[in-house]
């Protein structure tokens, strides 16, 4: 029974590919339905092919505005979380100090807490302080939950760094600032970049914490949430597809660049 043996040998591959299909199916649907021309207010049923939405991506009231708010928040949250998180990561790896355990758990806990709990407790703080909910409260919340992820990403990179490189720089009479800028920072850069990318993605796509602390400000995920009740415009799918393509292109180009660099070195 060669077929049964073949099946047995490749069972894990087949199962894995099925899971991959399960993961990618919604993306295929999102892309296909960006070319749909729905009859009613909801874009859940296939009607007929049309490129209307692609020709007029901002044709829905308020959608592109919410997209721009989301992008602004994501950029500033990334900048804030990356700076604060990198500082913490360096302190944790490079220095010995009191209360290290407490610091570690304060960084770990936000990652182990259900989002809804963080969202709700932050809202009680803002309500008690009488803060005006909006752009700034969202930004504060996003920096808070991105911080831990940056620390973890940068810490891993700095930990694997050879300390002798910095010693060598100092032996060659580089000052502390010069050593940091010319040696330490370039080596830590991939970790910092990974943390920053993760922050951007987390902030841009965050819904639950934003939902609690946004007041009347509408980010892009909040717009999608609202449209699930009012009616889903095809343009949502256009934005989703475009984001997916841009991101995949970005990853492929960066992979090509690293490959070329590596082959040049070799």
């Amino acid at each position: 029974m060669p077929f049964v043996t073949w099946l047995k040998r490749h069972l894990v591959v087949i199962a894995g590919l099925c899971t991959l299909a399960y993961l990618l199916l919604p993306n295929v649907i999102v892309t296909v339905f960006s070319f749909n021309k729905p009859k009613g207010r909801f874009n859940y049923e296939w009607q007929q092919f049309s490129t209307d939405a692609w020709k007029d991506p901002c044709g829905v009231a308020d959608m592109c505005g919410s997209l721009s708010i989301s992008l602004q928040i994501a950029v500033w949250a990334t900048v804030g979380a990356t700076i604060l998180g990198t500082m913490i990561a360096f302190a944790l790896v490079r220095y010995r100090f009191r209360a290290r355990g407490a610091v570690n758990s304060l960084i770990f806990l936000p990652m182990a807490m259900p989002e809804v709990v963080m969202a709700a407790s932050l809202l009680t703080l803002f309500l008690n302080m009488g803060a005006q909910l909006g752009f700034w409260t969202i930004l504060i919340a996003h920096i808070m939950f991105c911080l831990s992820f940056v620390v973890t990403a940068v810490k891993a990179r700095v930990m694997s760094m050879d300390p002798r490189l910095e010693e060598a720089a100092r032996d060659l009479y580089a000052g502390p600032v010069q050593t940091f800028v010319r040696v330490t920072l370039p080596i830590a850069a991939p970790g910092i970049a990974a943390g920053a990318l993760l922050s951007f993605a987390l902030s841009f796509d965050d819904f639950i914490i934003t939902n609690f602390n946004a007041g009347s400000t509408v980010t892009f995920p909040m717009f999608v949430w609202g449209s699930a009740q009012r009616g889903t415009p095809v343009q949502i799918n256009v934005i989703g597809t475009a984001m997916f393509l841009v991101a995949v292109l970005f990853v492929l180009v960066s992979m090509l660049v690293t490959n070329r660099r590596n082959s040049q070195k070799a």
Binding site: L25, P26, N27, V116, P221
Partner: protein, 309 residues
């Protein structure tokens, strides 16, 4: 849990600060830590205290709230919302098991069998993240539509009769049933299972498999006695990374479920944002946090991977 992002510490430089001949400022670490930690203390730790205080207040929106140590709020909240609590735990557990069953083969495939396709498959696993998860969750409404091919196939195979019988679906529908919610939860948190599984599988020395084969272990025995035990750190962090967010989620229950599939996240959201009953909402959120911290601690202890955290 940190195994997701943390690479194995390769030859960690043993306290470089100590070896360094240069004198470092005694206060430098504190200056580096200060801004970030202040941020976490004010916007993460302090809110927990405010939430605890809100949960024991009484009053109304118009007259304001006062701390009266009204602990009965907790009891009332539990009595009224225990079905939603139980449902959250049950759905999250079901989604976690599904994620493990679906995610393990894919992680195994990437780690051992993908060859030159490895990077491409990794990109395909992460790529869905780049489209807003709400849009992708809405796509499940199309996939599981009442007159769609999936429901049709399940109906023809009489699987829906079976799931109807055990109460996972109702009639000829999948949407607006527990099955749809669990399916959405599984889909949304699957990458959080696959990535830590892959990280721990990838570290396994391939020669161990050869050794097991040389000792006449069948593939299944090799998996059971060698591969799976060695991947336990990944299994533990994967299940935690799936279970915790799934238990607090309200997006899938709202978009794919019905009023009969409301989870505790839905209740907290409505209490906070629509009914504006802050003490009850804060109490519910506090109970959820305590329950999850308790379950996670017990789980980590029992699985014997305490060094994970």
């Amino acid at each position: 849990m940190s195994t997701l992002t943390e690479a194995p510490p390769p030859l960690a430089p043993a306290e470089p600060a100590k070896q360094s001949p240069r004198k470092r400022g005694r206060f430098t670490p504190y200056w580096l830590l200060l801004p970030g930690l202040l941020w976490l203390v004010i916007f993460f730790a302090l809110p927990m205290i405010y939430q605890a205080s809100t949960s024991v207040q009484t009053g109304s929106l118009e007259e304001g709230y006062k701390v009266t140590w009204h602990l009965a709020t907790y009891w009332d909240a539990l009595v009224e919302y225990w079905p939603q609590f139980l449902r959250s735990v049950f759905y999250a557990a079901a989604a976690t098991v599904m994620c493990l069953l679906l995610g393990y083969p894919l992680a195994y495939l990437i780690a051992f069998r993908a060859g030159r396709w490895r990077n491409l498959i990794m990109i395909l696993v992460i790529a869905p993240f780049f489209t807003s998860f709400l849009i992708r969750t809405l796509a499940w409404k199309t996939i599981l539509a009442d007159n769609g091919p999936v429901v049709h196939t399940l109906n023809t195979l009489h699987i829906l009769d079976l799931t109807d019988w055990i109460g996972w679906t109702a009639g000829d529908r999948v949407l607006a049933t527990p099955l749809a919610v669990v399916c959405g939860l599984t889909y949304n948190f699957l990458p959080f299972m696959i990535l830590p599984l892959y990280t721990s599988l990838e570290r396994i020395d391939g020669r161990l498999h050869e050794a097991a084969g040389d000792l006449y272990a069948k593939p299944w025995t090799t998996f059971r006695k060698v591969t799976f035990p060695l991947s336990m750190p990944g299994v533990v962090s994967g299940t935690l990374l799936t279970f915790i967010p799934a238990a607090g989620d309200y997006v899938n229950a709202e978009l794919l479920g019905s009023t009969d599939t409301r989870m505790i996240g839905n209740v907290i959201q409505t209490q906070f944002l629509r009914i504006l009953d802050y003490p009850t909402a804060a109490a519910l959120s506090f109970i959820l946090m305590a329950a999850i911290l308790f379950m996670v601690t017990v789980y980590i202890r029992r699985s014997g991977t305490e060094d994970l955290v």
